[in-house]
Structures are given as structure tokens and as C-alpha cells.
């Protein structure tokens, strides 16, 4: 063992061919490290393809919990000859490059440690079936690696026995493959490497989970009963998680299920079903990404305007258009916030990790029913499909699901005059009824056309504008109801702040730590929901320079902030008319005069025109 040994701080990367069984093996490795109590973070970088293309898996191992991605690889397990060249370039000086030396290669880098293991040969010797020869290559390199970086073999064994518990033969065969890899290292290679791992205790009360698994489970805990969806990467596994858990936890004695999962014919249909089910009093959701959001936007506008609860998970991927379906981005912020034509605004939630996906999945239904409007949970591929180490999921037995303002039969009888769209409480949120509640009371007509307080059709512009105003008031009500931002004041005196949301949080924490160590204090706010809480206005007003970190080109969250926080653009005064009638000059004159008369500052800016007409 060299004196330069360092522990639990390295980036490990696997380069494979997809469809070769490597994904399971690599996940297995991350899990073993997790069980050793070491903080890890794993990223699967896979192609939009089923078999034969390059795929990578990165594990950041960091005792000091700096768990954002990092360029520059310490140990590269290069199992795909097609990408050797690019893979070896990523290895840091003094790093290690492990490859399948069944075919020897000269890599022309002498600043790194190149290890050849003849994996294909080892497997050809050990197995006769061609598919086993293929598949076990993954386990063999895992075996080798376990010795090279020091993964506890007992942990591995336990993990294998957990996984193959009921299938001892599979267990044995996997152990055998591991041993092949270990044996080769023992006999041929100096081990362990300088960068290695050792047991730690950082993962007490932690779990390893991806966001889609957590969100699907959250929807089960939320009491959702209808999931309608159309397959699309990277959202598919969210519905699969819901299905798996619901089918297991909600099975009745007669073989029926207290849930319905419906694969729709497309995204329009998927969201239409979710709207229909919510309208009819079930908790229903859909999940999609990218193109699906665009296709759903007409229906999202209907739900907004007819005030139907709706939960929609958008697991964002690389856009625009079909874009990069297997890469992560945060580029649907604007298209979701303003989804649909006309004056529409949607409630957004921004989970930062799988743990928050679970809670937001639950709360999203509460918000959707309380506010009677679509709630879009903006996760992304990084959160949704990668395994993260997070706090374990908690459940408060006293938690009560908030079904919002729904009138039951008795309440309907006591109500003086039920009007579906009346603002009875002054918070902009009307009362609704579920079909079949009462034989004579509470029926109303739901429509996407303009309507009066009773749901009746109207083309009266004044009533239309009043409805739009109430919807805006309702939206404002959301500001205090929804998750508040997380604010960390690193320096009470600094005038510099940084804002982020979603999956970039780990990188922010790491960055702020780094800057702190250089004596630079920057205050941090993580946005968790739109409409924006007043605290967000305050944070922005209290700082003079604010960085906004986003994973998109168009600075979409910044746009949303300047859009919604008037103090930022205070010199622009809006004059708005939206009753559907062509504008009159009198309306304008009145509005402008009001401003001129009431605001002394503005008054002082007046100068006479060149010619007086």
C-alpha cells in the first residue's frame, strides 16, 4: 500500500456498451459503496437506444459530501473499445485506467496507471454459453475493481444474497464471477490503488433511491388512484413505480386493485384522462417530459380555466423538440409556467432530490385540490433516473390529506346558493362538488368557455375579466400555501446572493463551501415553488447582485422572476384591458391620468409636447 493512499474521495467511471448488462452491475457497485457508509452519488449517462451504443456510469465518492458531478476521472473502468480514446482522455494525471486486455492496446499516456485485465478471455474460459460469457464480464470487472479500490467483500456478498435471496444458484454464479475478477487481480496486479475506499458511517438513516421511484411511491401515499400516461423517457419509470407499489399495496381480497393505471394512446389523452378523473373526485395524475408537455398544453389550459385539480410530473430532459431524450435539463420552466394559450399561469414545484420528490408528490395533490388547478412537479432526468443518497422517507401518522373545498351532501343542503365559481371566502378559491353528491343540489356545468359564477355560459366581457381576476387572486393565495424557499444566510453583510432550484443544489452547496473557504460569503436561496413567495421578493430586494443558476440556455427562471416580481422592473407600468372588446381611448386616458395624478414622481417627469393639437 503506497503512502499516497487517499480514502473515500474519488470519481469512478464505467464506460460500457448499452444492452450488455452493465447498468445493473454498475448500480450494484454504487449500492455496495453506499452500504459501506460512504457518501456517493451516481450518474447514468445512457444513449437513446436499446443495444450497442456507448453508455457511461459515474460514481462520485466523497466522504466530505461534495457530491456534485466533477469532471476528471480518478478510476476509469473502460469496457467499450469504441470509446477508449475519449475515455482515457478524461482520466486525471496519476489516475487509473482499467481496460479489457484480451485485446492488448498501447494507449500512449504515461502519466496514468493503465491496468489491463483480460476479461473477455477470463469469461471465455469460465463459461460456455455465449450469453453468459457476455453478461458475466460485468461481474468480473466488478470483482477486480472491488480489490483494486477496496470494496468490502462481505458487503458485496450480503448485497448479492439480498438480491438473489430466493435463487441460490444465481448467487453462486455471481460469486464465482466476482472471484474470477478478484483472483486475476491478486495474481497479476499491484493493489489496492492509491485512491481507495473504506468503511465509514455517513449513511445512517439514509437511503439510496431515484426520484421517479420516490415520486411514484409518493403518489401512492397521496392516495392517488388513477395514473394515465404515455411512455416517454425519462418519465416512464415514475408511473412504473406507482404501478409496482399500488399493485402490491392496494390489492383487494377479490383480486381487484384500488388503483387504475392506464397507458393512453398519446399525451393528449393521458392528460385528458387525468382531468376527467380529478373532475370526478379521484386523485389522478400523469407524468411526461418534453414533447408531452407541449402536447398537453391545450388541456392544461382547460384545467386552469375550469379549475380542475391536476397533478402532472414533468421529468425534464434535453430540449428543444425531441432533443436529447437521455440527458438532463431544466428547460421547461417557462413552457410549464405559462402552459397553454391565453392568460394562464400554472403552479410549479421544484424538488431538489428524490427525497423531496416523495414529499412533493404527496403535497402536490393537496395543492392541486386546495387551489383547484394544475400543479406541475418539475423534476428532471438527473433526479428522476439517477440513484441519490438521501434521508430516509418519513411519514407523519397525523398527516391529513387536504381535499380542498369540496361540498358534501349535507353542506350542499346548508349552503344558501351554490355557485361553482363564487369567491365565497375571498381567497379566490371557489367551492366544488363531485358528481352524484346530491340528487338535487350541486350539479353544475364545467366548460372551457367563459362562464359566470354559476358556470353558465357567458360572452359578457366584464364577467370574463372578473373571472380572470379571481383566478389571479387564487394564484396569489398559493404564494403562502406552497413550499417556501430555503434561504441560507452565509453572510449577513454581503450584498451578493445566489439563487437556484431543483437538481443543481449539490453543486451550489459545494460551490458555496469553496467560496466560503476563500472568505467570500454569498447568501443562498433555493426556490421550491411558483407562484413565488414574498420571501423570494425580499431576498432579491435585499441583495444587489444575484446569481441565478439554471440548466437551460434561456435563463428561464430568471425570466420568471423578473416577470413576476415587479420591483425589478418598476419603471414599466402596465395598462391592461381584457374584457374581449376593442380598446377605447377613454379607458387609456383614465388609467394614465390616474397614474399622473396619484404618483408625484411621475408627475415631475411630465414635459409638454412639441406641438399642441
Amino acid at each position: 500500500m503506497s503512502n499516497n493512499s487517499s480514502y473515500n474521495e474519488l470519481v469512478l467511471k464505467f464506460a460500457n456498451v448499452n444492452g450488455s448488462g452493465s447498468a445493473s452491475a454498475n448500480t450494484f457497485c454504487a449500492k455496495a459503496l453506499f452500504r459501506m457508509g460512504i457518501p456517493v452519488s451516481a450518474k447514468n449517462i445512457f444513449p437513446s437506444n436499446i443495444q450497442g451504443l456507448p453508455t457511461w456510469y459515474e460514481i462520485k465518492i466523497s466522504e466530505s459530501e461534495q457530491l456534485a458531478r466533477r469532471d476528471g476521472i480518478d478510476v476509469m473502468v473502460a469496457m467499450n473499445a469504441q470509446t477508449y480514446e475519449q475515455d482515457i482522455n478524461e482520466v486525471l494525471e496519476n489516475g487509473t485506467f482499467i481496460y479489457d486486455s484480451s485485446l492488448l492496446r498501447d494507449f500512449k499516456r504515461d502519466d496514468i496507471n493503465i491496468i489491463g485485465i483480460p476479461i473477455a478471455k477470463l469469461c471465455a474460459d469460465a463459461y460456455t454459453d455465449s450469453r453468459q460469457r457476455q453478461l458475466f464480464k460485468n461481474i468480473v470487472y466488478l470483482g477486480s475493481l472491488s480489490l483494486l479500490i477496496g470494496i468490502d467483500f462481505d458487503v458485496i456478498k450480503q448485497l448479492l444474497s439480498d438480491q438473489f435471496g430466493s435463487k441460490p444458484k444465481l448467487y453462486d454464479q455471481n460469486i464465482k464471477a466476482l472471484e474470477i475478477g478478484r483472483q486475476y487481480v491478486k495474481e497479476n496486479i499491484k493493489y489496492p490503488l492509491e485512491k481507495q475506499v473504506r468503511k465509514s458511517n455517513k449513511n445512517t438513516n439514509k437511503i439510496m433511491i431515484n426520484g421517479n421511484e420516490a415520486a411514484g411511491l409518493g403518489a401512492v401515499y397521496a392516495g392517488a388512484t388513477v395514473a394515465s400516461w404515455y411512455p416517454i423517457t425519462p418519465s416512464t419509470s415514475l408511473v412504473e413505480s406507482f404501478e409496482k407499489h399500488a399493485m402490491k399495496l392496494r390489492k383487494n381480497e377479490d383480486g381487484t386493485f384500488n388503483a387504475a393505471i392506464m397507458q393512453a394512446e398519446d399525451e393528449l389523452s393521458a392528460v385528458g384522462m387525468a382531468i376527467g378523473a380529478n373532475w370526478n373526485g379521484a386523485r389522478a395524475f400523469t407524468a411526461t417530459s418534453g414533447p408531452g408537455i407541449s402536447l398537453m398544453s391545450e388541456f392544461i389550459g382547460l384545467a386552469y380555466f375550469a379549475e380542475i385539480p391536476l397533478v402532472l410530473f414533468n421529468i425534464q430532459r434535453g430540449g428543444p423538440s425531441t432533443g436529447m431524450p437521455t440527458r438532463t435539463q431544466q428547460s421547461d420552466v417557462l413552457s410549464c409556467a405559462y402552459a397553454s394559450h391565453g392568460d394562464t399561469k400554472q403552479v410549479l414545484l421544484f424538488p431538489a432530490d428524490p427525497n423531496e420528490c416523495f414529499y412533493f408528490a404527496i403535497e402536490s395533490f393537496d395543492y392541486a385540490e386546495r387551489l383547484q388547478t394544475p400543479v406541475i412537479v418539475l423534476s428532471d432526468l438527473d433526479i428522476g433516473m439517477n440513484d441519490w443518497v438521501v434521508d430516509k422517507l418519513e411519514w407523519d401518522p397525523n398527516y391529513k390529506h387536504d381535499r380542498g373545498k369540496v361540498l358534501n351532501s349535507k353542506e350542499l343542503e346548508n349552503a344558501k346558493d351554490f355557485g361553482r365559481y363564487k369567491d365565497v371566502d375571498g381567497d379566490g378559491i371557489p367551492y366544488r362538488t363531485i358528481p352524484a353528491t346530491h340528487p338535487e343540489l350541486g350539479a353544475y356545468f364545467t366548460r372551457g368557455t367563459s362562464h359566470n359564477e354559476y358556470g353558465g355560459y357567458t360572452e359578457n366581457g366584464v364577467i370574463h375579466a372578473k373571472t380572470l381576476d379571481r383566478l389571479e387572486k387564487k394564484f396569489d393565495t398559493g404564494k403562502s400555501l406552497l413550499p417556501q424557499p430555503e434561504i441560507i444566510i452565509n453572510s449577513p453583510k454581503t450584498k451578493i446572493g445566489i439563487i437556484n432550484f431543483g437538481s443543481t443544489t449539490k453543486a451550489i452547496n459545494e460551490t458555496l463551501n469553496h467560496l466560503s473557504s476563500k472568505g467570500i460569503g454569498i447568501n443562498h436561496m433555493r426556490i421550491r415553488a411558483f407562484p413565488f413567495s414574498k420571501k423570494i421578493d425580499n431576498f432579491i430586494n435585499e441583495h444587489e447582485v444575484i446569481f441565478i443558476v439554471e440548466q437551460n440556455r434561456d435563463a428561464q427562471m430568471k425570466k420568471l422572476l423578473v416577470n413576476e416580481i415587479d420591483s425589478i422592473s418598476s419603471k414599466l407600468l402596465s395598462i391592461l384591458n381584457y374584457d374581449g372588446m376593442p380598446l377605447t381611448a377613454q379607458f387609456l386616458i383614465d388609467k394614465i391620468s390616474e397614474h399622473l395624478e396619484e404618483d408625484i414622481d411621475i408627475n415631475q417627469l411630465i414635459a409638454p409636447p412639441i406641438k399642441i393639437v
Binding site: 452500504r35 388512484t225 383480486g255 386493485f257 394512446e265 384522462m273 388541456f299
Partner: protein
């Protein structure tokens, strides 16, 4: 025809059904469709059917898309929840609603534009799932609400209000429904209440997807050169003025004919259609027969009406999905939420 509220006065001597309700109790708001629109006749038949069946209106949900036809859900069953969704997408909303509560009766109303053009995909897939809905297409071969474009059910030979030929062939929604596995497929005529009301009643009683494709003449579809002098005058006048903005008031077209008989019905536009009623011996359980009879009469330029096909063994959507017999929207949150112990187990599985 008017937007004045219907008087709520109910004559005490009106007949009552088993629930003690009168026909009036099943009505909706006053129609705003054109005088003489076939859709209004269908509305009346729906009211009649629900009254006859003594259905509790609040246990019915009525859904539609967008169009003159789709507006009609507002003109029947005031005590039912109604949902005018978006154009062509009613089937998905109805599917979701039905998933949430399998115990309600679902009546879906659509137009030929709504179903055969923008909504064709959803229509086909709702059928494939055997959604338990009574799906009524108020088929006038035109886009009424957007003023008379051709729809995809319009026969190739016919002309639109501007005299232009319909360029493309008609989609036969009934034939399509049979092919896709709909359990109940019928065709009728808006003016034939005697046929339509029993069909609606059977369709409502049927457990699965039931289509009634109802030919429903549109008054604005008014351009045939062979009509009366005065009519020609109006048409010429409209043309000269550059806009079709005079819609003369018309009577609903009625048609009375018996099983096995055929009848020529002259539409508002002077065109006529030949309706052929299935005879009493026709066995609607034979799918091959249904397909071939539809194809045969279509070949002869005739429209065959009646119950074309019924599959008494089809599994409706919930049976296929094995959803709980209790409506999903009626299961208490406590039964749905697995609670803390399960979560502990799950947490373990994530380590």
C-alpha cells in the same frame, strides 16, 4: 333559439315516472341552436329516454367536445354534472371520469367533426378499451359551429354551402366501431324518435362502449339549387352580400317508417338520404353480418339504421383492468395510504 331562462312552472298534471319525476325534470337549459336543427331532436330523445328509464339524473354524467352538437349537453338533464371539454377530446375525459367512478352512467355527445376529424384517435382508443359510455355522434356531415366546412363523414358526392364539391370519402364511424370491438353499435336518424329513444335506452343499459351514430340534419347546410324559389332568393342574396348571415327558421325534419322499410328523407338543403331500417329478423350478434350489411347498403348509397351489432360478452374497461368494485373516488384516504409501517419496510429496501 332564445337565451331567456325557461320558466320553472311545472303543470301539476304532468305524467310522472317511477321516481315521481316529470319529463320536465329531465330537461336542461333552453337550446341556443338554430330552429330546426336535428341536434335538438336528439336532445329531446335523450330526455325522453332518461325519463322513461326513471334514471336518477344526478347519477348521470354528460360529457361532450366542442361544436353545436357538443353544446347540447347543456340542454338536457339539468340535475346532472356536465362537462364541455375541448374539441375532439371528450373520450379521454370520459375515460378518466369513468375510471374515477364506475358507478355513474356516462353519456358522451359529440359531432362528426369532433369525432371523425380531430377526435378520431381518441374515439378509436376509447372503443378499444370498451369504455362504458353511451357515445352519441350527432352526425350532420358538416362543421356547424364554424359555419359549414365539410366533415370527414360527409359523402364524397355532396356539396357544401358554397357549392364546392366534397373532395374526400366519408368515414363510417359505425363500421369503424364494429371493427375496433365496440360492444354496441347503432345508427339512427334524429327525426325518428320511435327508433332513437329505444336505442338510447338500450345503449344506456349496455355495459360497455355503445355508439349511436345519429344522422342529424343541419339547417345552415343550405345550398341546393333545386329548392324553392324564395329559398334561391335567400341563397343568391347571401352570395351577393358575401356572407352567409341569414339562416331561415326551419322545422325539424321528421321521419317515420317501420322495421325493414326504407324511406327517402329530404334534408334542409334539398339533398335527400335514403334510410333503410333493419328488419325484425336481423340478428345483431353476428359481427360479420353487421360488417357486410353496412358495406352492402353503403355500396347502394343507402343508410341502414337500427341496432347493427351487439356483443353480449364484451368486457368493459374496469373488468379488464380489475379495478375495485367500489368506485375509486369513494375509497377513503386511509385505505389508500399505506402508512408508516409499510414505509419503514420500503426504506429498508432502499438501503
Amino acid at each position: 333559439m332564445t337565451f331567456i331562462k325557461k320558466p320553472i312552472f311545472r303543470h301539476p298534471s304532468l305524467p310522472k315516472n317511477d321516481l315521481g319525476l316529470t319529463y320536465r325534470d329531465y330537461e336542461g337549459l333552453v337550446s341556443t341552436l338554430c330552429a330546426g336543427c336535428g341536434h335538438d331532436s336528439i336532445t329531446a330523445s335523450i330526455v325522453q329516454s332518461c325519463y322513461d328509464l326513471s334514471l336518477p339524473a344526478h347519477k348521470i354524467a354528460k360529457l361532450s367536445g366542442i361544436g353545436c352538437s357538443s353544446k347540447t349537453t347543456n340542454y338536457f338533464l339539468n340535475q346532472s354534472h356536465g362537462f364541455n371539454t375541448v374539441h375532439g377530446r371528450m373520450p379521454s375525459v370520459a375515460t378518466g371520469a369513468n375510471l374515477a367512478n364506475r358507478d355513474l352512467i356516462y353519456i358522451g355527445v359529440s359531432g362528426d367533426g369532433d369525432t371523425a376529424s380531430i377526435g378520431l384517435g381518441q374515439y378509436c382508443h376509447a372503443i378499444r378499451r370498451q369504455l362504458n359510455v353511451t357515445y352519441i355522434v350527432e352526425n350532420n356531415g358538416t362543421y356547424g359551429l364554424t359555419k359549414g366546412q365539410f366533415s370527414a363523414t360527409n359523402d364524397k358526392k355532396s356539396k357544401n354551402k358554397k357549392g364546392a364539391d366534397n373532395p374526400f370519402g366519408a368515414i363510417d364511424l359505425a363500421l369503424m366501431a364494429i371493427e375496433l370491438g365496440a360492444g354496441f353499435v347503432a345508427r339512427s336518424f334524429s327525426g325518428d324518435k320511435e327508433q332513437l329513444v329505444p336505442l338510447i335506452k338500450k345503449a344506456i343499459a349496455y355495459n360497455g362502449f355503445s355508439l349511436i351514430d345519429v344522422i342529424s340534419p343541419c339547417v345552415t347546410f343550405n345550398n341546393h339549387p333545386h329548392s324553392t324559389k324564395s329559398y334561391d332568393y335567400i341563397r343568391e342574396h347571401n352570395t351577393a352580400m358575401g356572407e352567409l348571415d341569414f339562416v331561415p327558421e326551419k322545422e325539424n325534419i321528421q321521419a317515420k317508417y317501420s322495421e325493414g322499410e326504407s324511406v327517402d328523407v329530404t334534408l334542409h338543403d334539398g339533398n335527400s338520404i335514403n334510410l333503410q331500417k333493419l328488419d325484425g329478423n336481423y340478428d345483431p350478434r353476428d359481427q360479420d353480418k353487421a360488417v357486410s350489411i353496412l358495406r352492402k347498403y353503403r355500396g347502394e348509397g343507402k343508410v341502414v339504421t337500427g341496432l347493427l351489432y351487439i356483443n353480449e360478452d364484451a368486457n368493459e374497461m374496469h373488468e379488464t383492468l380489475k379495478t375495485s368494485t367500489t368506485p375509486l373516488n369513494a375509497i377513503p384516504m386511509n385505505d389508500l395510504c399505506p402508512g408508516i409501517d409499510e414505509l419503514d419496510k420500503l426504506n429498508k429496501s432502499y438501503t
